[in-house]
Amino acid sequence: MNTPPPLLELRSITVEAGDRTILQVEQLRIERGETLAILGANGAGKSTLLRVAGGLRRPTHGSVSLNGRTATPAQIRQTCAAVLQRPLLRRGSVRANVETGLRFKGVPAAERRKRATQWLERLGLEPLAEQAADSLSGGEAQRVSLARAFALAPQLLLLDEPFGALDAPTRAELLADLRDILNTSDTATLLVTHDRHEAAATADRSAVLHAGTLRQIGPTASVLENPEDAACARLLGFDNILSPAAASRVLGRLLDHAVAVRATDCRLDPDGNGAGTIERILPFGGFTRAIVAIHGIRILSDTPTPAFERLSQLQPGTNVDLHIDASEARTLPCSQPTRRRAKTRNHPDDRLQ
């Protein structure tokens, strides 16, 4: 029993709002220095979880401990720093904003300045240091928000969808910078997001939060690739979720579990036996999505647009064959075989490559 206690541990946490339970977590540990991503859809309870972990919201039941000791929200807040979804900056200069947390903690002015300068440089904000915070773009403001949190050198950094409101290029750039910083610091990080790519880019471990409960937790790669049920699969970007019966028909072998497969792993073959019919074609820019009806089941198939255009004259009504790579099809062990027919999704709300 020599293993040190985790940095932060949530035990038997329940959060109720009105007469609804919005979060129920039996146990969640965050170890020193690791990055843990919590993946969840909107309304899954991600922000609530983050706020409980950061001492920003008192759980209805349960406790949070720091280094093995039960801690009050105020004690937790002394250890953590958080970056919320929207960058909430104070009036004043960028530099003053980066110094905000240090000011709260009574750090002397010289030290404040030094640490602020360091993080302004690190996040490429130096040229903006003396600008008014309310003149920044969304991406710049979120950078300031990150610098402000990092300047505190917290033991635990809490990030609540910090990239949620940013456009794709800004998001990618900031995500890369964040990954570099996290890789070289010993700050533990709890990142909540609905985007598996953010988790893949930053997190050592990931967990899936669905309807207020944790469903899967483990090394990020393993969690992302092995959804245990339809809800997790959907969140992790598996576009096609097939009931056992549907899966049996599409894959041509008898299965007693539901199956999830990404649209990118369903390849169109216009020269095959033509068992399927294209119902719709949806150009998404980088890729083109086809909705194919096969054996009475709708399957989404994504093809990179240049490749799609090389396929001869596909249009709604064209008969095609679908090749599904069996090694990419995931059986969902926790889905209930007897449940109502699983549906495929006709309208994507998740970005795909």
């Binding site: 706020r51 105020a74 807040r77 002394q78 919320l84 929207r86 104070r90 709260f104 505190l152």
Partner: protein, 231 residues
């Protein structure tokens, strides 16, 4: 029109000639109304913080009371205060009736709902997550409230100005609880009413003009502070 012109010249004569009584009345008006405004801020800001951020039983009722209070005529406030301060009233032992203190109390009662109401709106206008974010950076409860107030300082100043504007210009309560006693509780508004009742309309109007000049000057100072540092 002659009266208007007389009033303007009289106002400037009173101000510029250093008329002792006029300046004394101006000083008294400012002292009473600024004190009442300051008191209303000291009492009203915690109330508005509780209303903006607290969730307690009766919150809606208090909010409704505050909003109703914003429209209470000064005379009504004056009546309530005078009944309390009467010798035969519950606070009669304090002997405060017909003193500047009584006027401060009445004007505080008038300004309080205004200050509390406008301040609550000002604080609620700040993103509710702002305070959470400040706490997430290590600010304690009061410190985080303070940051929200600092963020809302422009509308909070406006709340203070609304309170001051209401009390410096009200006459009903000042007359009732102050008694308009020369050298003790006579302020610009009550002096103007007295002169008007004597039929000295030019002088009354001159006092009114002085009142406007004073209110304008105070608001100018506050506005300058408010807009300071705004590009």
């Amino acid at each position: 029109m002659q009266v208007l012109w007389d009033a303007v010249t009289e106002a400037f004569r009173l101000l510029l000639s250093g008329d002792g009584e006029t300046w004394e009345i101006i000083a008294r008006s400012l002292r009473i109304s600024l004190t009442a405004t300051a008191l209303a801020l000291v009492l009203g800001l915690p109330v508005s913080a509780a209303l903006a951020f607290g969730r307690f039983p009766g919150r809606r009722i208090v909010l409704a009371l505050v909003n109703t209070g914003m429209g209470v005529p000064p005379v009504v406030a004056g009546l309530v205060i005078i009944v309390l301060l009467w010798r035969s009233g519950p606070l009669g032992a304090l002997g405060l009736l017909y003193t500047p203190t009584a006027m401060v109390i009445a004007q505080t009662a008038i300004a309080l709902p205004l200050v509390a109401g406008f301040s609550t709106a000002a604080l609620q206008h700040v993103d509710p997550d702002f305070r959470v974010q400040m706490q997430a950076l290590g600010a304690g409860r009061l410190r985080s409230l303070w940051t929200v107030a600092a963020e809302a300082r422009l509308p909070l100043l406006a709340a203070g100005m609304a309170g001051f504007g209401a009390v410096i210009s009200e006459v009903g309560a000042a007359l009732m609880v102050g008694g308009n006693i020369a050298g003790q509780t006579r302020v610009l508004t009550t002096a103007a009413v007295l002169e008007a009742s004597k039929g000295a309309f030019a002088l009354a109007l001159a006092l009114g003009i002085i009142l406007l000049v004073i209110a304008f000057a105070v608001n100018l100072v506050v506005t300058a502070v408010q807009q300071h540092g705004r590009a």
